[in-house]
Assembly symmetry: C2
Homo-oligomer: 121 residues x 2
DNA sequence: TCGACATATGAATAATCGTTCAAATGTCGC
DNA sequence: GCGACATTTGAACGATTATTCATATGTCGA
């Protein structure tokens, strides 16, 4: 692992940066949240819910172009992280966005990043 | 794959949602960007650069607690997506954040998400 | 109760990703 | 040029992740 060989290191600056570095908990949470948003299928689900309000799994699958099984798995992940919430009515399950930070992030990203310099290589 | 069985589907709503669904290009770019931010090591690198301004690989490795090889690999990824840029001076390589949308996203996320309701299950 | 249906789940495969080690590149001081 | 050094790179391995198929759960209408 070799955390810090003492070669070219500017010890003072490194110490300062380390002192203000967000703790492992925050970094871990952040990376998990971004991980949730790093899949096109899940992104499309969120986009659909942002537009459609409350939708059943079947409609979500159709609107996002994936199988119902895939949609269900993805929704389960999002649900376990409180990004979406479910309302059950009979044999249907209706999903909608939860008021989470993730919603804000996604909303900002999708509105702010339309048409501009690409991010790809 | 089974894109749309015509069972319980509310065809009208599905059609509408599909019509405003961001295209594959945008969705792909977005998921890539979020993917870049979904790793604790890369997140720490960005946090260090946000605080430290411009730093060499050796300092970045020390400040983020990873090997120089790991840091270099991560920086390479971030560089290829124009999230960071490099300035070379002799045998050193100095990295700093680029003025990308990713910086804005990360900045917002890290300042807005400090200490609050967890996102874990 | 029976069969069709909406959704959920588990297990298995395949693909992707992060980390590490070893080695390569290019630079500096002697 | 030689050796030490900062960084980069490639390949290999292990771990995580997405996707699929098959099946399970629970609900509705007849």
């Amino acid at each position: 692992m070799a955390i810090a060989p003492d070669a070219c290191v500017d010890a003072e600056r490194v110490a300062h940066v380390r002192s203000v570095m967000p703790d492992d908990g925050l970094v871990g949470d952040l990376s998990e949240v971004f991980g949730l948003l790093s899949d096109p299928g899940r992104l499309r689900l969120l986009a659909a819910l942002l537009e459609g309000g409350e939708m059943c799994v079947c409609d979500l699958a159709a609107a996002t172009g994936q199988s119902m099984s895939a949609a269900s798995h993805a929704l389960r992940l999002l649900r376990s992280h409180r990004v979406v919430k479910v309302r059950r009515a009979g044999r249907m399950a209706y999903y909608q966005l939860a008021d989470s930070h993730v919603r804000l992030l996604f909303d900002l990203a999708i509105t702010h990043m339309r048409h501009d310099g690409k991010t790809s290589e």
